[in-house]
């Protein structure tokens, strides 16, 4: 499936798995010549991009350019859709997650995800939502941790603890939209991932909640590799260190990565004409 062996990838610094060592930061994600298809039709083609620990990488571009598809390839969620396939490689700290011996379920424990719409489990309480990943995970992980502590730590990290500590047994769906999204962030953090993927996490939220979550993203990048898909160029500007611009050249053709650079550079001196057109508001 992969075009390159892990050893050939430009993985400059190898960061060991983060389990138990709280001071190291995130995992390095390298995407190499990735093409992702639905039922044989490519949605993105030949994307090569590296997402580094300690940085927020923003994926921007017009609707349908495949930025969400690219994000869903980073934790293998893309291939859970019937008829979906990938070629090329996604290397998590040098290991191809689409490699033959790699279990995507365990990859997803290292690469968490937050979705566009807050999606807490409706049958579970706030506390159970946060602990879900651990309770339903591999048996030895379930035993090793004290769930109450994990719930408190994760909710604190997501900036929600003070608001919900007195009603942890209330349904997760009883919270406001912004709180639900932070609950989903806490749920993702509870399994101690190394990277956090966010698919337009604020697009369903009000400005105040958006501001809270953007602040949260800046805090989280200390410990996690953060990748965020956003429609909103101002948001990319505010929260990200690296911005990757994707586009489609004509309707129906697959999305491509146009250029990726430090956010400041991409917005102040873009190289490609397509990028200039998009960020100056001519298209999109």
């Amino acid at each position: 499936m992969s075009l390159a062996e892990p050893a050939d990838t430009p993985s400059g610094l190898q960061i060991p798995a983060r389990r138990g060592t709280a001071d190291s930061a995130g995992a390095r994600i390298e995407v190499s010549n990735l093409t992702a298809s639905y039922r044989g039709r490519p949605a993105i083609t030949d994307v090569t991009l590296t997402m580094r620990p300690g940085q927020v990488t923003a994926l921007i571009g017009p609707s349908g350019c495949g930025k969400s598809t690219l994000l869903r390839c980073l934790n293998g969620l893309h291939v859970t859709v019937p008829g979906a396939s990938v070629t090329g490689g996604v290397y998590l700290d040098g290991t191809d997650i689409y490699g033959r011996d790699v279990d995507l379920v365990s990859v997803r424990r290292r690469v968490g995800m937050v979705f566009q719409r807050p999606n807490p489990f409706p049958t579970m309480s706030i506390a159970d939502n946060v602990a879900a990943g651990l309770k339903f995970g591999p048996r030895k992980e379930r035993r090793a941790r004290k769930l109450d502590e994990v719930v408190e730590r994760s909710l604190t990290q997501a900036g929600l603890w003070e608001e919900v500590k007195d009603r942890l047994s209330r349904p997760g769906a009883s919270l406001s939209g912004g709180q639900q999204q932070r609950l989903c962030i806490a749920r993702a953090l509870a399994v101690e991932p190394e990277a956090l993927l966010m698919d337009e996490p604020c697009s369903a939220l009000d400005p105040v909640s958006t501001e809270i979550i953007e602040g949260l993203i800046s805090d989280l990048k200390q410990d996690y590799t953060v990748v965020i898909v956003t429609h909103n160029m101002q948001q990319a500007h505010r929260v990200s260190d690296i911005t990757a611009f994707m586009t489609v050249h004509s309707p129906g053709s697959p999305g491509e990565l146009v250029e990726a650079a430090s956010t400041h550079e991409l917005f102040s001196q873009p190289v490609e004409q397509a990028t200039i057109d998009y960020i100056s508001g001519k298209v999109g």
Binding site: N75, L77, T80, P82, V105, S106, V107, R108, R109, R110, G112, M113, F115, R117, N119, P120, F121, P122, T123, M124, S125, D128, A132, G133, K135, F136, G137, S169, P171, C184, R187, A188, V191
Partner: protein, 268 residues
């Protein structure tokens, strides 16, 4: 148009209300505490006695049928909805066929494969009713599983939860209210079934039988037996039995609502 629709609705409601009030009026003439505690009199022509053995028999036979059909039915629905493929498409097709099988045929089938070897028994009746309930449970469960949004399955998958565990811990609990309602409706349907029991449980007007390996009575069988006699006393008992059956089914329907409502909001 609105008047026309309103008229049609009024006719439908009126007929239902007529049936219910008629059964209630006829049943209440005879229904009393003794009806629930006594078995029918030895001579069907005489008054007195009740359907205690039928009520107990119905609960035992339908209870066993539920225990048999629900695990298989839910498992089949999970296979159809969550896994798909050619085999499960066949299961889905067979389910649709099974819904249309006349229940007397189901009874005859159990008669041939079970009763001819082991004799009439409540258990044989349970097998027949389980076959009646199975496609209903599969259909109701599959419908409810399809209603569980993809984003919940993805939320669970994104946490590194395996597919099987996602189904058990996220999908099924989310669908539980609907599945429970579907199961209760299947139970209500089985409660009223008579045809599949004629050739399997056979009936037992004489005494209370608690052992499912013996021939047993049910409410529906007792109603049938008494209704086809010419005796006024027996027919009066049949009316009371019919009312009892409606009340039991109603209680199940209410129970389904209550359970459905409670599990849909509280923690798993």
């Amino acid at each position: 148009m609105t008047v026309f629709l309103a008229a049609l609705v009024a006719v439908a409601v009126a007929v239902l209300a007529w049936v219910l009030t008629y059964v209630a009026a006829q049943g209440l003439k005879y229904l009393g505490p003794a009806f629930f505690t006594h078995t029918p009199p030895g001579n069907p022509a005489s008054y007195g006695g009740g359907y205690a053995n039928g009520i107990v028999g119905s609960l035992i036979i339908v209870g066993l049928a539920t225990l048999i059909s629900v695990p298989f039915g839910v498992a089949a629905a999970v296979a159809i909805v969550e896994y798909g493929g050619r085999f499960t498409a066949a299961v889905s097709f067979i389910t649709d066929v099974l819904v249309g099988v006349p229940t007397i045929v189901t009874g005859a089938f159990i008669y041939v494969i079970w009763v001819t070897h082991f004799g009439f028994s409540g258990l044989a009746g349970s097998f027949a009713l389980a076959l009646v309930m199975l496609p209903l449970v599969i259909r109701a469960t599959a419908e409810m599983l399809r209603l569980v949004p993809v984003h919940l399955r993805e939320a669970s998958a994104a946490l590194g939860v395996s597919r099987a565990r996602t189904i058990v811990s996220v999908v099924l609990p989310s669908a539980r209210a609907g599945i429970t309602t579907g199961v209760f409706l299947a139970v209500a349907r089985a409660m009223g079934e008579t045809a599949p029991l004629l050739l399997t449980a056979l009936g037992n007007q004489e005494f209370m039988q608690l052992h499912p390996t013996q021939r047993m009575s049910t409410l529906s069988l007792q109603i049938f037996t008494d209704a086809i006699t010419g005796f006024q006393a027996a027919q009066a008992r049949a009316w009371a039995g019919a009312l009892t059956l409606i009340i039991i089914v109603l209680l199940f329907a209410i129970g389904a609502r209550v359970i459905g409502r409670r599990t849909s909001v509280t923690r798993s």
